[in-house]
Each structure stands twice: as structure tokens, then as C-alpha cells.
Subunit: 236 residues, 2 copies
DNA sequence: CGGAGCGTTGAAAGCCCTCAACGTTTGTGG
DNA sequence: CCACAAACGTTGAGGGCTTTCAACGCTCCG
């Protein structure tokens, strides 16, 4: 069971003790694998579990009445996908898989017990939601202040940092199952224009995005183009 | 001292008991008034207080090296402006006043005691940061999926809902000390274009934005134009 | 084999930015 | 009290970036 490994990765980011990890693991209720492109939690529905992404990639999104969709963030292994639903009882956004994904779910009632017995774990959960909020702020900056090529460059840089933090990047390369359509929905661009941006990044030898994987070719230039701040979250 | 009133307003949104309000109030260390356009908390600096906005308007922002600035959110009376700094010790963004603003500050160490003695207050603080995160997601949607007029319309609608929640909107009108430059920095637009959008909103009798105040003339149309969801935060 | 999803490319149109200029208001110092 | 500068708002013209529309190729899968 690779679950332990992944919880260890959560701990790497959030400074959990092994006791806390064990407590969380013991509270896991079941583990589900969802196919790609599957809605897992619908906006507004009352929920009673938190889901921890163990394997794969998931996303949060909102859609307007006219069908257009905006990604609000995506989760990598080790991230909670619907933690907001624990204190609030529901989500203000939808959560879906991007590729196939495996999630471990923990009932809120068991979490109540854990949080009572391990006060630092409550703090860790809080930190996890703050981490999400920090990412949201990066996304606001990206959408508000960068042009198309800058947005994609910024997204690639941010994702690299997150992937590296969980040991899933090697030599500035990582697997990212986003389609050009997904990238567009994350960056506020049409898939047509994402295609042109991706081509330009390749032509300029900045990054190679294809077949669900990313190879960053010139980190310094890519970061400059995306106005990416390496210490972007100020968490260190 | 109008402080009690404002803390009551916090409680209205966050369901605090009078005991909790009293505990928070007793922990207030000092109350400062800052002039307009003043940096209050700088990104990355170690901080030891949380600041509660009592009167005025403040904003969070990030700026790139080249001087361009993106607002990440703004605070209205009753909002904490740097709560993230309590668990994390620093902010990943700057906090400044927009107009003149009065803030009450509470040392982290006193907060530690309060949180220990009033566990529900810790929960309230968590909810407050989740509220911020929900607003961030609205901002991502606004920037990613709306055109210029839609962004401004959406911002006006959201602000109305927030103002009304703290009793500062009457007859679909409220005071908003944002300049057109500020609106541009919030919506990812130039101030020149914000000017044109504002004129168009007035010409079409949707809203009248001038002299630091907003009068919404046609709520239904404005909301449609901004794809604004009245239940946007799913908090009810 | 046909269709759906994804990627790719071109042409034209539109939205927003940039640049530039000017008016008004506010605040400050002579 | 007035002159002046700074901040804010306003308007026009031109250009660039991104979207829209359209078409086509490829791969995978039923």
C-alpha cells in the first residue's frame, strides 16, 4: 500500500509527526479510484468526508450558466481536495478528476475525534487550507497581470515547484496530464491560443509541453517570462 | 468606542458568541489609524500581531518587479487583514490601506491563550481564512472568464453583497473609496479602460460609479452581465 | 469503420492596451 | 490668496494580442 508513502509526503510539506500520520491513516474510511474526467464533489452538496488525493491529478472549478468553465486550482498527490467542506459542510466549487485518480476519504466525525486528541493536527489542516489560499493568490496574479505566454510560463513554473516538493520532478521535467483545453481553462485562454503559446515556448526553447508531460528547457527565461517568484508562497 | 459594534459585525458573519467577542476585545493591544495609501504589512516580514479592520477599506496586493500591481482582495470593516500571518508568521502579499483606515491589533501570543481557552474561536479564525479563500476563487473566476465590463459588474455585485452583510449598503448603494486605477488593478484592466467601462455602465443604466460611491441601478442586468451568482460563497 | 477527443493551423474580427492630451480637483507652499 | 503640482478622471486614435470561426489530421475506442 503506497498510502503511507503519500501521507509521508503530506507530512513533508506540512510538518506532521509520525503519530499524526498514523492517526490520519487509521481514520481512513475507504479508498476510491475514479476514472478520468469524473465529478467527485458537486458544489453546494452537503458532504461528510474529506478526500485526500493519493494518486493522480484533480481540479477545482466553477462554471457559469453558459457552460464556460474556470479552473480554480488543481491538486497533486498529498493534497486534500475538499478540506473546506470539513468546517463548512459544503463546497462553493466543483471537484473533479483530470486523469484517473485515487483518493482516501476520512469521515468528518472521525476527524472531529482526531482533531480533539491531536490539536496540532487541527493546525496542520488549517495550514493546508492556507496553502490553497496562497495558490489562489498566485492564480489571481497570473490572470490579472500576465499575457498569454506569461500565464502559461507561470503555471509551468508553479507546477514544477509543487511537483518537485513531492518528489515527482526530475531534471526539470514532470508528468502533467492537462490537455491544452485544461491549460486554457486554468489560464483564462482559449485552447486554440494555448496551442500557439505552447508552440512558441517550444520554438524559443523555453519549455516543451506535450503528451501530458512537461520539460522545462530554460528555467531562468521561463521564470522571467512568467514573472515567477521562486519563493512565491513565502512558506519557507 | 465603536469597536464593539464592529466586532459584533464580525460575529454576524462568523457566528461568534458574546463571550468570544469579549475575549477578542480584551486581547486588543492597540488601535491605530493609518492614512490613505499606506503600506501596513510588508510581504515576507515576520509579524507578531493580527490586525482587525475596524473602519475604512484596505487591500492585499502583489507587485511584480516591473512595478505592475495586482490586487488580491480587499477588506471591509470587520475583516481580519493578515490572519494568515498567525499560523504562518508572515504574509506572502502586501497589505495597505486604500482610504484612511483604523485597525485593532491583537498579539499572537494573546491569541494563543484565547484559542486554547475558546476552541470555537480557533474554528472561527479558520472559517475567516476560508471566507478569504472563497473570495479569492471568485476573483479567479472573474479574471479568467469575464470581459472588462463583466469583471467590473461582477466586482460591484460582490462588493454590494459584502457591504450589505455588514449593514453598509442602502437601496443598492454603498460607499467605495476605490479609484478607477484601483478597480483596474483588481480587475486586470488599465485605468483608461475602466473609465470607459464605467461610462458604459452609466449609459446603459446598470450602475453609477463615481466619487467613491456606487449606486446599482439595475441589479438583475448587472448580475447577469457579471455572471454573478447571488449564492456565490455557498455559505448560507 | 465511424465518431469523439485532442492537437494544429490560417484568416478575420474584436477587445483592450498604449500613447497622448486635456480638464478637474485637491493640497501645498509662496 | 494665489500659483503650482500632483492625483484623478476623461477622451481620441492607433496598434497589438487574443478570440472566433473554420478546417483538417491524428489517435483511440466502440
Amino acid at each position: 500500500m503506497s498510502l503511507t508513502l503519500d501521507l509521508t509526503r503530506v507530512s513533508r510539506r506540512l510538518a506532521m509527526t509520525t503519530v499524526q500520520i498514523a492517526a490520519l491513516e487509521a481514520a481512513i474510511d475507504n479508498i476510491n479510484t475514479y476514472p478520468r474526467r469524473t465529478l467527485v464533489v458537486r458544489r453546494g452538496i452537503r458532504i461528510h468526508h474529506i478526500n485526500l488525493l493519493v494518486h493522480g491529478t484533480m481540479c477545482q472549478y466553477r462554471d457559469a450558466r453558459d457552460g464556460c468553465r474556470q479552473l480554480l486550482g488543481y491538486q497533486l498527490p498529498g493534497d486534500f481536495v475538499d478540506l473546506q467542506g470539513y468546517p463548512l459542510g459544503r463546497l462553493s466549487y466543483n471537484v473533479a478528476t483530470i486523469g484517473e485518480a485515487t483518493v482516501a476519504s476520512i469521515p468528518h466525525e472521525r476527524l472531529n475525534v482526531i482533531v480533539r486528541d491531536h490539536p496540532n493536527l487541527a493546525r496542520m489542516l488549517w495550514l493546508s487550507t492556507l496553502h490553497d489560499a496562497s495558490l489562489h493568490r498566485e492564480w489571481i496574479f497570473r490572470l490579472g497581470r500576465l499575457d498569454a505566454i506569461g500565464r502559461v510560463a507561470n503555471l509551468l513554473c508553479e507546477t514544477h515547484e509543487r511537483m518537485e516538493a513531492i518528489g515527482r520532478a526530475q531534471n526539470r521535467a514532470y508528468a502533467l496530464p492537462l490537455t491544452q483545453q485544461d491549460i486554457g481553462e486554468a489560464c483564462g485562454l482559449t485552447s486554440v491560443h494555448v496551442n500557439r503559446v505552447v508552440r512558441k515556448l517550444r520554438e524559443d526553447s523555453l519549455a516543451d509541453v506535450s503528451c501530458g508531460s512537461v520539460q522545462i528547457l530554460d528555467w531562468a527565461k521561463l521564470a522571467r517570462m512568467g514573472k515567477f517568484d521562486p519563493n512565491y508562497l513565502c512558506l519557507a
